[in-house]
């Protein structure tokens, strides 16, 4: 610390020779002149002295009959005039300073954290639409509106926080972990449960409504299973009125499902020739700089890898470096062998079965066969399944029914 202060104020290394250098030092200390790093070599003394004190040395030197010579100069008071003499250097310094200040009025980086469902691409598109982009002036950025806009656009975002730290816009979001429930509209009228498939009822637990079918009965698609209109009887067993409820029941239906998938004999596959060509590039914001290159191959795809050097990331400078690898390939037509076709088709059927199981469908029996038909492999699966059924269908209000009931 003291060293830095001394450097700022400037100091000298002087050499004292003459009759009595000790007396010179004593006089210096008496006049509060600090001397440091005093060394003696061959009868001469070298020491450091601050620039300000140096101007007080003349009477002391005269009094003691010593001669003082400056060996070296250190510190800013000597460095600055030297630098000021170099005009272009000064101009560059001031320009750099100006640029630095000017560039601090802009947003140079946007950082997004906390996103799981919303991909960065989607968010970038959103920001672009909202007029927020890298290189925009800070004063045009309205953080409050941006936060509101984020919450309005993305329903799953429950909390947002945007803030500017330096030239970096940090956006933090919290997404809702629970799935978004579509609100069930409360309707005044009731609803029936209706069968979606043909089949046989295997079990039935009714929670609400009047069951219209019984276990073991076979139903057709569209048959009302549980009715949502509950009759209220008069004393003479005539219907007085209907109360409408939302029919609710767990009904298992035994029925048959079929699944068919097709696979053409031949397919086109990318076959890489192994020839690749690499191109390096430098990206500033959205502008890419690279060496001009002609079309590398006739047919090719490209793998882009880019990264941002730590240094630029820390300073929020939008500079990326990267490498593009162009890989040549040929479209080759292949024919599936029986084994390949079987495994592919089986995979398809497995995904179908898994999707069924996720819906709560139990498979009792299955019968799968693979055939060829007109240039394609066809897989047909017949499944005996036990499946929960029942879709809600709103009851069309039979107004007159209730009225007539009460009239009687």
């Amino acid at each position: 610390m003291i060293g830095i202060l001394q450097y700022c104020r400037g100091y000298l290394r002087i050499r004292v020779r003459g009759f009595s250098p000790e007396r010179f030092m004593n006089l210096c200390s008496n006049r509060d002149i600090l001397l440091w790093n005093i060394t003696r070599e061959d009868g001469v003394y070298d020491m450091n002295i601050s620039l300000r004190s140096f101007y007080k040395l003349r009477p002391i030197a005269r009094k003691t009959g010593t001669r003082v010579a400056i060996l070296e100069r250190y510190g800013l008071p000597f460095l600055v005039p030297q630098l000021l003499r170099r005009k272009m250097f000064c101009a560059g310094l001031f320009l750099a300073l100006g640029f630095w200040i000017w560039s601090s009025f802009y947003v140079w980086d946007i950082e997004l954290t906390g996103n799981y469902q919303i991909t960065e691409d989607i968010f970038e598109d959103f920001l672009e639409e909202a007029g927020v982009h890298v290189g925009m002036p800070k004063e045009d950025l309205d953080i409050g509106t941006l936060e509101k806009e984020i919450r309005r656009t993305f329903k799953q975002v429950t909390w947002t926080s945007a803030r500017l730290s330096g030239t970096r816009l940090r956006i933090e979001i919290k997404e809702n972990d629970a799935p978004i429930l579509t609100e069930e509209q409360k309707k005044d009228g009731g609803s029936d449960l209706v069968a979606e498939y043909d089949g046989t009822i295997e079990s039935m637990i009714v929670r609400n409504g009047v069951p219209k079918v019984s276990i073991g009965e076979s139903v057709e698609k569209g048959t009302v299973l549980v009715e949502g209109s509950i009759p209220v009887y008069n004393d003479d067993a005539t219907v007085k009125e209907y109360q409408y409820v939302r029919a609710d029941a767990d009904i298992m239906l035994l029925h048959e499902r079929t699944y068919t998938a097709r696979l053409p004999y031949s397919h086109i596959q990318k076959e890489y020739t192994g020839r690749t060509r690499t191109q390096r590039f430098l990206r500033f914001g959205n502008r890419e700089i690279r060496l001009p290159q002609e079309r590398p191959f006739l047919v090719y795809d490209t793998v882009v890898r880019e990264s941002r050097p730590q240094f630029f990331e820390m300073l929020s400078i939008p500079v990326w470096i990267g490498r593009k690898t162009h890989r040549e390939y040929l479209d080759v037509e292949y024919e599936y062998t029986l084994d390949e076709a079987e495994s592919l088709l089986n995979e398809k059927i497995m995904t179908f079965l898994i999707s069924l199981e996720e819906k709560g469908v139990q498979i009792i029996e299955k019968n799968v066969k693979i055939d060829t038909n007109g240039g394609t492999w066809v897989i047909t699966g017949n499944f005996q399944v036990r499946e929960p059924i029942g879709v809600s269908v709103d009851i069309r209000p039979p107004k007159d029914m209730g009225e007539t009931g009460s009239d009687e």
């Binding site: 000790e22 509060d32 440091w36 005093i38 003696r40």
Partner: protein
């Protein structure tokens, strides 16, 4: 030079002697560094000997590669290989 009366007085009041009597104060750290306060001036300074004038006595540091790190009116620091400290 020492007045026995003054010394008795300072002793009885338990005052610090370096302040009241102007006694030299030497602080040694190993044989490499020494801090000295309450001196009047340097009488001799070479790489082997540093002789200092105090108010009541002189002190002589002998050794090799002796140098003065800093020197002010208040205190000074000597570094080097100190072999002996003598009061004359």
């Amino acid at each position: 030079m020492k007045s026995p009366r003054k010394e008795a007085f300072v002793d009885s009041l338990q005052l610090p002697k370096d302040v009241c009597m102007g006694a030299l104060r030497v602080t040694l750290t190993g044989n490499g560094e020494a801090w000295i306060e309450n001196y009047k001036g340097i009488l001799e300074y070479t790489g082997q000997v540093i002789l200092l004038q105090g108010k009541t006595c002189q002190v002589c540091f002998e050794g090799s590669r002796l140098s003065i790190d800093y020197y002010t009116n208040e205190d000074m620091k000597i570094s080097g290989c100190i072999q002996s400290v003598r009061f004359l």
